[in-house]
Symmetry: C2
Subunit: 599 residues, 2 copies
Amino acid sequence: MSDQTQETYQNSRLYRLRHSTAHILAQAVMEMFPGESQIAIGPPIENGFYYDFDLPRALTLEDLPVLEKRMCEIIAGQHKFIRTESNIEQARKQFAHQKYKLELIETISQTHTVEGTAEKNESDVISFYTHDTFTDLCRGPHLDHTGEINPKALKLLSVAGAYWRGDSNNIMLQRIYGTIWSTPKELRQYLWTVEEAKKRDHRKLGSQLGLFHFSSDIGPGLPLFTPAGETLRHLMESYVRDVQTRYGYQHVWTGHIAKEDLYKKSGHYENYRDAMFPAMTDENMTFRLKPMNCPSHMTLFKEMGKHSYRDLPIRFAEFATLYRYEKSGELTGLTRVRSVTQDDCHIFCTPNQIQDEFALALDLIQEVLGRYRFTDYRVRLSLRDDDGKYVQDDEKWRIAQSALKTALDNSGLDYYTEAGEAAFYGPKADFMARDVLGREWQLSTIQVDFIQPSKLSLTYHGEDGQEHTPVVLHRAVTGSTERFLGVLIEQYAGAFPLWLAPVQAILIPITDRNLEYCQQLRTTLQDNGLRVNIDTGNERMNSKIRKAQVQKVPFMLIVGDKEEQSKSVSVRLRSGKNMGAQTIDEFISITNQQISSGD
Amino acid sequence: MSDQTQETYQNSRLYRLRHSTAHILAQAVMEMFPGESQIAIGPPIENGFYYDFDLPRALTLEDLPVLEKRMCEIIAGQHKFIRTESNIEQARKQFAHQKYKLELIETISQTHTVEGTAEKNESDVISFYTHDTFTDLCRGPHLDHTGEINPKALKLLSVAGAYWRGDSNNIMLQRIYGTIWSTPKELRQYLWTVEEAKKRDHRKLGSQLGLFHFSSDIGPGLPLFTPAGETLRHLMESYVRDVQTRYGYQHVWTGHIAKEDLYKKSGHYENYRDAMFPAMTDENMTFRLKPMNCPSHMTLFKEMGKHSYRDLPIRFAEFATLYRYEKSGELTGLTRVRSVTQDDCHIFCTPNQIQDEFALALDLIQEVLGRYRFTDYRVRLSLRDDDGKYVQDDEKWRIAQSALKTALDNSGLDYYTEAGEAAFYGPKADFMARDVLGREWQLSTIQVDFIQPSKLSLTYHGEDGQEHTPVVLHRAVTGSTERFLGVLIEQYAGAFPLWLAPVQAILIPITDRNLEYCQQLRTTLQDNGLRVNIDTGNERMNSKIRKAQVQKVPFMLIVGDKEEQSKSVSVRLRSGKNMGAQTIDEFISITNQQISSGD
C-alpha cells in the first residue's frame, strides 16, 4: 500500500471493523484456554486482521471453526466497545497476568520518558477498549458495538508462527489470520481473489508452462529463459520497440558494463552503490555491471558530437539488462530479480519541450498498457515540498511541475499529487495499474532530471547562441521485461492472448498416417507467421488435448483422415470449446482477426 | 595466413620472386651508402617483402624512387643467383664487417650445438646467395636470375622503424617495405586493394556514418552504438534469428553473468581464465561475466528436466553479449572488442545425429553468408592426430570425423583437412570467407564437443533404456555482431544493401512549403516498412544530396512543387544516378523488389 492509501485505510470503517473483530478473536481464544492464554498484539492489516497468542498447545486448522462459532455468538451479543483511560501504573495492574501486554506498557512508558522530559511520567494516559468480558490495551478506534459486524462476512484463514515483536531472538508465538468484510459478497470476492492469486502465482505457472528456471549453478535472482519464455520476452520487447519507433524513439546499444568512475561522476556510486554488483578490478581499471542506463546514454549523447536545439528532442531507448544486487532474501520469482531488462528511455530536451515530451510519453504508455489489458490505472504525480533535499532551482521546478500538471490535465487521466514524494533531482509520474484481481502494480514511470545531465557535462547549442544543459526525462513503460512478464503471467493466468502466446496452435495427428499432412499444415501456418508445433508423442488424442490445455495453447488442431480428405482441421480452444472443422484458410483468417484485435 | 596457406606460399614462385627482390633492394641500399650500411634481415612476407638496415642517416620517401631506379638497373643485368656453401668460420670472415650478420651466424652456430652434439661443430654448412656484387647469408630458394623479375611489377612502399630481432631492448633499425608481383596488372590490383582497404577501414567509415563510438568513460573495447549502428545490429540479429527459427533452432535467454563455480565445473576457469573479466566477489559468492554461452545453455538444458532421445536434437540459440578481457593493446575497432555478441548456438544430439545436424548447420551458414554476399569461401576441417592431448575415445572420434567428412563431401563445399588442428574436445570446421578485396576472414564455425556435456553431467534417456551423455555441437554463423559488422562495413564500403541500410531513403524538401507533403510521404513509406528520414536543415538542396551521399543513404527523394503536384518524388541513388520522377507506389515497388532480391 502507498502511504496515501494507508492513511485513507486507517480512517475507514473497514479498518475499525477489522480491529474490532481482532478483539473478538482474542476473547474467543482466551475463553478456549481459560487462564492459560497470553495475548500479544492484534492489528488490522490489508484485507483482514491477525492476533498473536502464547498458548499451552499448538492450534490446528480444526480449532478455527470452533473459534469462528464462538465469535459469531459474541457478535450476536451486540456488546458495546467502551474506551477507558488510565495511567501506566493502573495499566500494569490491569494486565498483571499478561506478560506481553506488560512489556508493551513498559515500552510505552519508556517512549514517553524519552520523548517527553527526563523524568518518568507515570500519570501518562493509556487507553483500553473493552467489550463483553474482554479488555485490550488499545488506541482504537473501534465500532460502536459487536452487532455492527456481519458474521457471514467473517472468515478465519490460517495459523502461522510469528516471533514476538518480529525478532527471531524472541519466543515464537501463534498467529491466527482472519478476514472480515462489510458484506458476505465482498468476503466471497476476496476469497476468490486469494484462491485465484494462488492459482495464478507466476512461479507456479512459470514452471507449469515451462517458461523459466532458476539454477543454483547460475546464482540467485538470475533466471534462465526456455524457448517458450524467450519467445515471450522477444514478443514483448519487439512490441514495445515497434511502438517506440512509431513514436519517434531511436534505439541505441550501450552494453552491460562501464568504468566505475562513470558512476562516481553521475552520482550513482554515492547514492546507489549498495544496489550495484561487486566491482571487477584489475591492476589498471575498475568496471561495474550497469545498474542504470542513464550514464551510458548520456555518454553516447556526448560522444555523438555537438547538438543544436534544432536536433532536440532526442529520445534514446534500449532494452538493456541491468544488474542490481538485491538481497538474496528479497528475491521473488520474476518480480524481484537481479537481472533487470528495462525498457528504458532517455529523452534529451529543452525545458520548453518537457510538456510535449511528457504528454507523448503518457500517450505511449496508455497505448502499451491497453494492449496488455491494463485499463484501470491512475497516475501518482510526485512533486517537491519545502524539504532542503531538493535541487535548488525554483524556476526549473516551477516549469517542470507546471508542465507535468498541464499535460496530465489535458490527458484526461485519473491522477493525484503527492507533495514531497519527488526525487531530489526532479518531479515524476508513476502509473499505478490494477490487474484483473484488483491488485495494484507500479508499472510505468516518467521522471524529470535536472541534475545528471549537468554532472556529466551535457550541452546543446541554444537558439540564443549559448551552450545550455538539456533536461533529461527518464521513462520506462512496462518497467522491466522480467517483472512485467511475472505480472502478465498472473494477469492472464498463463493464458496469453493469441499475439503473445509462445505456441499459438498445436497440431494433433490422430494417427501416424496423418503426420505428413500435419507437417504440410505447419509449414503453411508458419509461412503465415504463426507459431505452431506438432504433438508427435505416443499418447492418445484426448491426453494430447489435455496436455495442450494445461500448456494453455490457444488452438488445438486435430487432424485425422476425415480432416485430411476435406483439407481442414478440427479446431478446439484451450477453454474446451469445440469450433468444429475449419479449412486452413478459415483458420488463418480467424487467427489474423484475433491477433489484430489484440485478444 | 593459415599454416597450410603459409606452406603453399613458401613453395611458390611468388615467394622466390619476393625473396630475390629483397636481395636486390639490399644491394641498392648498400650502394647508396658505400661502406656505411649494416644489413640485417629481409624476408618475403604476405603480399611483398621488406629489408632492415642500420644506416648513417634516416631514409625518407624521396629515397624510394632512387632505390627503385637502381633496382631496375640490377634487374636488367640478368645476374644469376648463385648458391654457395661454407662452414661457420668461413661465414664469419665473409661478413666480418656486418655485425648483424655476425650475430645471426653466432645464433646458427649455437643452434647447431644445442641441436646436435655437445661439441661445437665449426664445419656445419651455412649457405649464401650471391647475385651481381651482393652476397647474403640465406637459405633460399631464389629465382635463377634477376632478369626473371618484371620491373614494372615492383613498388617500394614505405619506410618504418623496426627493432632488431623484434625486441624493444635492441636498437631500432630502418625497414623498407616493398611489393613485387608477376605482372604489372597484379601489382595494380594489389595497390588498388590496399588503397581501397584504407578507404573502407571500418573505424573511419564507422565514424563517417556515425555508427558507433568508443568512450574513455565507458572503457577500452566497449563500443556504444548510435541509433544507426543499433539499427544495423538489430537488422543483422533479426535476420539470423529468422533464419535460425526457420531451420528449427529455438532461442533462449541466459543473461550475462554466472557463478564462477560453473566455469570451474565446465573447465573454462582452468583453460580460459585469462580471457575472463575480473571476478565480482561479495562475502558469499563470486560471479563472472559470461565468457561463453555453453555452460549456461547446458545448465538450462539440465534445469528443463529429463530429456528423451525422442526430444533430440534440441538446438538452443542466443544473441548474448559475452565479455572477454582482450589486452587493451590488441583491441582494434569492432573487429577486436571486449563485448562480443555471438550468434551462438548449441545443438544437443545423439552421436548418430552429428552428421545430419552438421549438414543442417552447413546449409544454414551458406544461406546466411550468401545473403551478405560472401560467396568465395572454403571450409577448414580440423581433425585430430596422434597427439596425447586429445580426448581418449577413439570410437567417438571415428564417428564424428567420419560424419563431418561425409556431410562436407555431400555438401559440395570446397574444403581441406588439417590433422592435429582439432580442439582437444572434438573435431571442428571453420568457414574461411574472402571479402570483395580478397581478404580472408574466419567467420562461421561448427565444433563437436565430447567433453563439456559430461563435465556438466548432462544426460538423455536413450532408446536402450539407459542414460547417455549427449554430444554438443557449438555453432556460430556470423561469429559476433560487433566483428561481423566491422567486416561488413569494409565488405560494402559502408554502402549497405537496401535491406540493411539504417536509413533507406531521405526526403529532401526543396522549399519549406514542401515539408508537409514530405511528412505525409514519410508516414506512407514507414507504413510500408521503410526506414525514412526528412532532411529539414537549412542547407541548399545540392548540399543535402551530397550529405546523403556521404552517409551512403540508398535513395534520395527530392520533393519540390512539381513533385507535389504530380504526387511523385524525384529519385536519386547514392551512386549519383538520377532515376527521375516516380510515383510513390512505383518507388515502393522498386524498394520491395530490391529488398527481396537482397541487393
